[in-house]
C-alpha cells in the first residue's frame, strides 16, 4: 500500500519535474553553483556536493574545540563551579552568528555574477517559447532555494553540536531542545540576512547605475564587502565584551542584533539587547523584501536590455598605462619577454574580476590585520614625539607587504582563458625563460611604490629619518626575500597554466603560510624594534637576509634542468612512479 503510494508519488514527481518551470529552476540552480566559465578549463569547478560538505566543517570543528570550555569535569578540575552555560555561551554564540553571516555573504559575493540571468541565459532561453515572467520567477525561486539550503547547510553541524556541548553541564533535555531551537533559528536567519544583504547591494547598484559603471564599481565594491566580512570575522572575539557597554558603537553591527535576538528568545535580554533583537527581526524582513524588489527592478532593467548592451565595452585607459609601461621598459623591464609578460600580467590583474577579487581579499585581510595591530599599539596611548615606534607599529607595512605578495603569488596560479595560452606555447622556448624575474617584478610593483611613497615619509615624519630609512630597507629586503621564497620552483607564465591539482600537502602549505606570517611580521618587527634601541643589533638584522639569500642560492643551484622547463599544465603527481629500469637493455 505504502510502496504503491510512493511509486505513484514518484511518478507524479517525475512528470512534474519534466515540465518547463522546474526544468528552468534546475538550470538556474546549476548555473548559480557552476558559474558561467568553461567547465574544467578556467573556473575552479567545485561540485555542489563538495561545497555542501565543506561548508559546515569549520562550525563543527569549532563546536568540538569548545568542549573543553563547557566540560563539567574540566571546570571542576580548574576550580570553576556555578558556571552559567548561557552566559558562557554568549561570546561563542556571537562567533557562530558572525561565521554563518560571513559564509553565506561570501557565497553571494563569490556567485555575484551568477545570481542574475546573464547573456548566456538570454541567448539560450529567450528565443524559446517561454514567457520572460517564467524565467524571472524560476530564477527567483532558484535563488531562494539555494539561499535556504546554504543557510541550513552552513549551520547544520554547529547548530546541533554547539547546543550539545553547551548543555553538557545541564541535566535537562528541555534545556538542550530550547537552546538548540533558538540557536538554529537565529543562525539560519543570520545566514539569510548575510546573503540577502549582499544581494540588496548588488540589486540596488544594478537598478540604479548604467551597466558599464556597474561593472566597474562592482569589483571594488566586492573587495570592500570581503574586507568588511574579514573585519567582522577577525573582531568576533573582541566585540562581545563591549556589547553591554552603553553607547558602544558595536550596537550597529548586525551580528549583535542577532545575538540580541538569541537573548530575547531565551528571555535573558537586557532592554538594549532586546531592542537589538527586535531590530534583527525587522532588519531580516526588510532585507528580504528589499532584495525581492531590487531583484525585480534590476531584472527588468538589465536582463531585458542584454541584447542592446552586447557590443558596449568600457573605454580603456590605454593612454595612462602606455606612459607607465614605457617608463618601466626603460628602468626595470630588461628584455622583450619581460616587457610583454609584464603588460599581460598587470592588465590581467587589473581587468579580471576573478583575479582582482582574490587579490582584494588578501589585501582586505592585510588591512584588517594591520588595523588590529595599530589599534593594539595606540589603544589608550598617545603618540609620543621622539620616542621609538612599537613593534606593532613597525609591523604594519610588513603585514600589508606579506598579504599582498602572498595574494599575488596565489592569483598567479588562477588561470584565465586557458584556450588563449597557445600564443605563449607557440612563441616561447621551454628553457631559458624569465618567469621568475617577471613574477618577482610584478609582486614588488604592488609593494615598493607605497613603501617608498607613503611608508618612508610617514615613518620619517613621525619618528625621524633613521626609523624611516631602516623601516623602508627592512620592508624592501624582506619583501624581496619573500618573493624569492614564494617563487621557488616557479616555472610558468602567470595565468596561463591549468589549476594545480589538490595535493595532500595543501594543508601543510597553508600552515606554512601562517607560520611564515609570524616569522615575517612578528619576529621581524621585534628584531627591528630591538635594532632601533641598540645599533649593534642592526648588524644582526642585516645578517639574516644574507643567510637566507645564501640558502636560496644553494637551493637554486641544486635544481636539474627539467625542473626549470616552462609549463602550461600542472600534472598531478602520481602516488607511485614506475622507474622503468629495464628500458633500453
Amino acid at each position: 500500500m505504502i510502496s504503491s503510494r510512493l511509486l505513484s508519488l514518484r511518478r507524479r514527481w517525475d512528470i512534474w519535474s519534466r515540465k518547463p518551470f522546474p526544468t528552468l529552476v534546475r538550470l538556474f540552480l546549476g548555473r548559480i553553483f557552476r558559474g558561467g566559465g568553461e567547465s574544467g578549463q578556467d573556473e575552479l569547478d567545485l561540485s555542489m556536493g563538495l561545497v555542501l560538505t565543506l561548508l559546515p566543517l569549520p562550525g563543527a570543528f569549532y563546536s568540538v574545540f569548545l568542549f573543553e570550555k563547557y566540560s563539567t569535569l574540566l571546570q571542576w578540575m580548574q576550580g570553576r563551579t556555578d558556571v552559567d552555560p548561557l552566559s558562557a555561551a554568549f561570546p561563542d554564540e556571537y562567533f557562530f552568528i558572525v561565521f554563518s553571516m560571513v559564509v553565506t555573504g561570501m557565497v553571494a559575493v563569490w556567485r555575484w555574477d551568477s545570481i542574475f540571468p546573464d547573456r548566456r541565459d538570454y541567448a539560450n532561453l529567450v528565443p524559446l517559447p517561454l514567457s520572460t515572467l517564467n524565467i524571472f520567477f524560476a530564477n527567483l525561486l532558484a535563488i531562494l532555494l539555494l539561499t535556504l539550503v546554504l543557510a541550513i547547510d552552513v549551520n547544520a553541524a554547529s547548530a546541533l553540536l554547539f547546543p550539545l556541548v553547551v548543555s553538557a553541564s545541564v541535566n535537562a533535555f528541555s534545556f538542550f531542545v530550547h537552546f538548540f531551537l533558538v540557536h538554529a533559528f537565529v543562525l539560519v536567519l543570520a545566514s539569510l540576512f548575510g546573503f540577502f544583504a549582499v544581494f540588496v547591494i548588488v540589486g540596488i547598484l544594478m537598478a540604479t547605475l548604467p551597466y558599464i559603471v556597474f561593472r566597474r564599481v562592482s569589483l571594488y565594491l566586492r573587495g570592500i564587502i570581503i574586507a568588511c566580512f574579514a573585519a567582522l570575522l577577525s573582531t568576533s572575539f573582541a566585540v562581545p565584551p563591549q556589547i553591554e557597554q552603553p553607547d558602544s558603537a558595536v550596537r550597529f553591527l548586525p551580528p549583535v542584533w542577532f545575538l540580541g535576538l538569541c537573548q530575547l528568545l531565551r528571555d535573558r535580554a537586557s532592554p538594549s539587547l532586546a531592542s537589538r533583537g527586535r531590530l534583527a527581526l525587522i532588519g531580516s524582513a526588510a532585507v528580504i523584501a528589499t532584495a525581492s524588489v531590487t531583484y525585480a527592478l534590476s531584472y527588468r532593467r538589465c536582463f531585458r536590455r542584454i541584447p542592446e548592451t552586447t557590443d558596449v565595452s568600457p573605454p580603456s585607459s590605454a593612454g595612462h598605462l602606455g606612459r607607465i609601461f614605457r617608463t618601466l621598459d626603460r628602468v626595470i623591464l630588461t628584455s622583450p619577454f619581460q616587457r610583454a609578460g609584464y603588460r599581460f600580467v598587470m592588465k590581467t590583474l587589473l581587468r579580471s574580476e576573478h583575479h582582482g577579487l582574490v587579490l582584494g581579499g588578501f589585501f582586505g585581510l592585510g588591512v584588517v590585520t594591520a588595523s588590529q595591530f595599530l589599534f593594539a599599539a595606540f589603544s589608550g596611548k598617545p603618540l609620543e614625539a621622539g620616542s621609538l615606534p612599537s613593534a606593532e607599529v613597525l609591523a604594519v607595512p610588513l603585514i600589508l607587504s606579506y598579504c599582498i605578495i602572498l595574494g599575488v603569488r596565489v592569483v598567479f596560479d588562477i588561470p584565465t582563458e586557458l584556450r588563449a595560452n597557445w600564443v605563449f606555447r607557440l612563441s616561447l622556448a621551454k628553457t631559458g625563460h624569465e618567469c621568475v624575474p617577471l613574477a618577482r617584478k610584478v609582486m614588488l610593483t604592488f609593494v615598493l611604490p607605497w613603501v617608498f611613497a607613503i611608508a618612508l615619509p610617514l615613518y620619517a615624519y613621525l619618528w625621524g629619518w633613521r626609523v624611516g630609512v631602516l623601516q623602508t630597507a627592512v620592508v624592501t629586503v624582506w619583501s624581496l626575500l619573500l618573493a624569492e621564497i614564494l617563487l621557488l620552483r616557479f616555472r610558468k607564465i602567470p595565468f596561463t597554466c591549468s589549476y594545480p591539482p589538490f595535493r595532500d600537502s595543501a594543508v601543510v602549505i597553508v600552515l606554512l603560510y601562517i607560520l611564515g606570517f609570524f616569522l615575517f611580521v612578528g619576529v621581524t618587527s621585534k628584531l627591528e624594534y630591538w635594532a632601533l634601541s641598540d645599533s649593534v643589533l642592526i648588524l644582526w638584522l642585516a645578517g639574516i637576509p644574507v643567510v637566507v639569500w645564501y640558502v636560496l642560492t644553494r637551493f637554486q643551484e641544486g635544481r636539474v634542468e627539467v625542473d626549470e622547463e616552462l609549463i602550461f599544465e600542472e600534472i598531478p603527481q602520481g602516488g607511485f612512479e614506475l622507474l622503468d629500469l629495464g628500458h633500453g637493455t
Binding site: 538550470l27 548566456r120 529567450v126 524559446l128 517561454l130 557590443d311
Partner: protein, 255 residues
C-alpha cells in the same frame, strides 16, 4: 508568413538599422548579406523578438510578434551566431532541456534527440560535457536544438561556422530541402558561395539600409555580374581590395 515592416533600431540614438522592409514566405530561403556593422545581427535579433525595434514591426501571419511572442517562438527555430551554451551540461542534457522548455512531449523528445544526435554524428559524445566539445560540435548541438521541434520558420545566423566539410554539405542540402518543404528560412552569412547556392532570395544591407532585395538571379542580372561575389563587391564594398592587399604587404615588410 514573416514580414519585416519599416524596421529601425537605434542604440543610444545611433541608428543601426533603418527602415528595413522585406517578407519571407513559406518555401523561401532569404539570404541576408552585408559587411560587418551593416545591421545583420540587429535585424536577426528583431526578427526573433530578442530585440524590440525602435520603429516598425515584425509580423507573423499578419500579427505583430510582440503581441504573442511565446506563440511566435513555438514556430521558430533559431541558430545564433555564437554557440553560447551551458558548458557543464552534456549535449544530450542540453537538448533535453531545450525540448522540455519548448513543451515537447517526452516520448517524442527522447526519440528525436537520439535520432538527430546520431545523424549529426554526435551520438558517441552525447554524455560528454559541452565544455569539452569543439566549436563544430557545439554548432551541431545548436542546429539540433533549432530543428528538433520541427519549426515553420528557421533563422540561421552563420550556421556553417566551425562545421566540417561533410556537415556543411549536409546542412546546405538540408536547407534547400526544408525550403522545398514550405518552411520559411532566413539565412545570414558571410560565405557568399553558400548563399548563392542555397538562397532563393537576397537581402543586402549596408550601413543599416537595404540596398538590394529581390530574387538572387534578378539581383545578379540587374548588376550584370556573373558571380555573387562580384555582385556583392559591386553593391556593398567601397574598398579596392587589391590595393588594400598591397598596402598590407608593404606594412608587413616595413622596417
Amino acid at each position: 508568413m514573416l514580414e519585416a515592416r519599416n524596421l529601425s533600431k537605434s542604440y543610444a540614438s545611433i541608428p543601426a538599422v533603418r527602415e528595413v522592409t522585406f517578407s519571407l514566405a513559406p518555401g523561401q530561403v532569404l539570404g541576408c548579406l552585408g559587411p560587418n556593422g551593416s545591421g545583420k545581427s540587429t535585424t536577426v535579433k528583431m526578427l526573433t523578438g530578442l530585440l524590440e525595434p525602435t520603429r516598425g514591426k515584425v509580423l507573423f501571419n499578419g500579427e505583430d510578434i510582440h503581441k504573442d511572442l511565446v506563440g511566435f517562438r513555438k514556430s521558430l527555430g533559431y541558430v545564433p551566431e555564437e554557440p553560447n551554451l551551458y558548458p557543464y551540461l552534456s549535449g544530450r542534457e542540453y537538448l533535453e532541456m531545450i525540448g522540455i522548455l519548448r513543451g515537447m512531449p517526452s516520448s517524442r523528445l527522447e526519440n528525436k534527440i537520439d535520432a538527430l544526435l546520431d545523424l549529426f554524428s554526435l551520438h558517441p559524445h552525447r554524455h560528454g560535457s559541452i565544455g569539452s566539445y569543439s566549436k563544430g560540435m557545439r554548432q551541431r548541438i545548436l542546429l539540433i536544438a533549432a530543428l528538433m521541434d520541427d519549426p515553420q520558420i528557421l533563422i540561421f545566423d552563420e550556421p556553417l561556422s566551425g562545421l566540417d566539410v561533410t556537415t556543411a554539405l549536409v546542412l546546405k542540402n538540408l536547407i534547400k530541402t526544408l525550403g522545398e518543404q514550405r518552411r520559411a528560412i532566413f539565412y545570414c552569412s558571410h560565405v557568399l558561395e553558400v548563399v548563392e547556392q542555397v538562397c532563393s532570395h537576397l537581402l543586402i544591407l549596408r550601413k543599416g539600409n537595404v540596398i538590394a532585395y529581390d530574387k538572387t538571379e534578378s539581383i545578379q542580372d540587374h548588376v550584370e555580374h556573373s558571380s555573387l561575389e562580384d555582385t556583392f563587391m559591386h553593391l556593398v564594398e567601397e574598398v579596392d581590395t587589391e590595393k588594400v592587399s598591397r598596402e598590407i604587404i608593404s606594412a608587413m615588410e616595413a622596417a
